[in-house]
Symmetry: none
Subunit: 189 residues, 4 copies
Amino acid sequence: MDDAIRDAVRALVPEVGYAALTMDAVAAKARVGKAAIYRRHASRGELVFSALVHGREPQPLPDTGTLSGDLTELANVVLAVFSDPVVAAATPGLLADLKQQPDIAARFQETFIAQERKQVTELLDRAVARGELAGPTDPALVHAAVLGTVFARVFLLAEHPDPAIAPRIAAMAATVATAQPPPGNHRNT
Amino acid sequence: MDDAIRDAVRALVPEVGYAALTMDAVAAKARVGKAAIYRRHASRGELVFSALVHGREPQPLPDTGTLSGDLTELANVVLAVFSDPVVAAATPGLLADLKQQPDIAARFQETFIAQERKQVTELLDRAVARGELAGPTDPALVHAAVLGTVFARVFLLAEHPDPAIAPRIAAMAATVATAQPPPGNHRNT
Amino acid sequence: MDDAIRDAVRALVPEVGYAALTMDAVAAKARVGKAAIYRRHASRGELVFSALVHGREPQPLPDTGTLSGDLTELANVVLAVFSDPVVAAATPGLLADLKQQPDIAARFQETFIAQERKQVTELLDRAVARGELAGPTDPALVHAAVLGTVFARVFLLAEHPDPAIAPRIAAMAATVATAQPPPGNHRNT
Amino acid sequence: MDDAIRDAVRALVPEVGYAALTMDAVAAKARVGKAAIYRRHASRGELVFSALVHGREPQPLPDTGTLSGDLTELANVVLAVFSDPVVAAATPGLLADLKQQPDIAARFQETFIAQERKQVTELLDRAVARGELAGPTDPALVHAAVLGTVFARVFLLAEHPDPAIAPRIAAMAATVATAQPPPGNHRNT
DNA sequence: CGGTAATCGAGACGGTACGTCTAGTCTTAAA
DNA sequence: TTTAAGACTAGACGTACCGTCTCGATTACCG
């Protein structure tokens, strides 16, 4: 039952898009009454979000031995997530819905963002332990750099996410991890 | 008339959000018939997009004399755009709608993305002329780095866009412009 | 539900008239969604027609013993129908709509006209059996005479339907039933 | 100009019906601005009414020498009017509109009904002078009988107006003119 | 094992926004 | 001035979808 609903969502999202995904269509596709959906999911956003995250436990990133390698690994995972057609089709609409539903936004933050943030933090801690980084670093910007750059390529710049860019994104993110204060006054050399 | 409609949109978007922005509400607020809106705008997405971009011609980025400075300037512009409450409230929903309306998506690409891309390209050309960069660089990734990192902080990580991070984003973007193969560790000014 | 809709129509028609009877107003008055109305009624004409005819089964005309008496009875029934304020307010607009909707026009013919026609036919048959009429007569003209004369007084000549005219209409209709060629002057009881 | 508008109305009414007759269509067909129509006509009802009555002055009914003949003549005129396809198509809708617009209803009464009523009155006066009638008679019911019977056949009973019925209608109307009080109690012979 | 309770698919419900259409008014530029 | 052209406000149209609710039929659990 739960699976039938999620499968219907996963089948319909790439087919018709997030905006045109009606609850009636999901119910019909899943051969389920609408009440059965609402008994399990509070809203369309929550429904799609549930369908997307279900069974997607975050495999821990391997320790590649270098900061650069770890970041490349992270970039590849992010690229893989956004390459999923269901995720790609659902993300913009889902993001829009989250703005209106703070409770689901919170769950999204906890489930998805916080876990990725934890990975970034561990990755940076390992680099500190190795001596690659001088001291503890704010993981937020590193996280934003990796996640945002991929997101921008896919959704804002409408380019397909070429996996070859992963190491370049990693190098970029390493910079922001390394350089804590901006090196000097950039206005005049 | 055109202005009355756009003003109504700009007033309503931060007030009720993009998803709850109804054509009836816009017409009522603008004291305008719905037909007058549909005569000018093909859809809600196009309407909001028009209201957002109207009068927002891209002032050319100043030549600060260094790649780092130029990129900081770019990051500040992007931060400023996303700090506008109307833009902040409208962007996620607008982005979602664009997925369904290829014609408006194309206009968004041409009007907004292409202009920013041009600025990035010029900025990199200036750096090559100065000798800061060895040779021509793909501007797409630099663009994605600046735009995406800001976007991610605001919309994905739910952090407010602290203007102090502009130079750090610039440094990061400079890396991806410089380094073709990812080096182990690096810094280049 | 069905009743709520019909009651709303019956309340609104005399209040605002047929032309100004909007589906939204009916829905609001009946505290019902518009879809519930459209699920039951194909158009405004059909809706009003249904509201008018509901519960109005044609009580069989009594046999008064004379053609004249039977026709007076018929005239009184027709006068009573057109004296109903709801019928009076709805009839002209309804008649106009029927011209555009042949299916409802057919239903109107079957439900209302055909039943009345049957009464006229029976009434004439009784007169033949009594010997008041020489032979079978076309009931259509008798029908038209009674129905039309009342209709004309109410809707064309804008006079209120004085019940005292019923026997005069009956006498008139009896003439047309009796006289095949128009005689110069006549009276037949 | 005035003629162009009226011609457009007369062309459109039988073509699309009264209900579907839009002011824009009239303006386009007449190659005229809508303002030109509204400068001449207060509403759609008034417009159609004007187009119908224009140039239709009431030729005086001939004195045939008998009441019966005069009434047959009247019935024929009424039949002729309702046989005009434009009149036939416009009448029900026009009648409905008149209910909502008392000023035009009044003009309709004065222009059309009152003139016909005058003819009926004269016709009855001639009959009194001839000695066919004992004394002055209420012309309203005679009028209603002739006009209404034809109207009922055409618009309520959906039968085409066979001209052969004119003398029978006349005979019928003569009855109502003759018999002033109902002959007796019709309930029991 | 038989009775009770929960859950099911189906779909009608009230409500609301949609995008279209028409009425009647108003503006404009040409004649 | 009056014209044709056509944009304007206002508001009803009929459709679609939301999230709730009611209906029997079926299932599953418990006494």
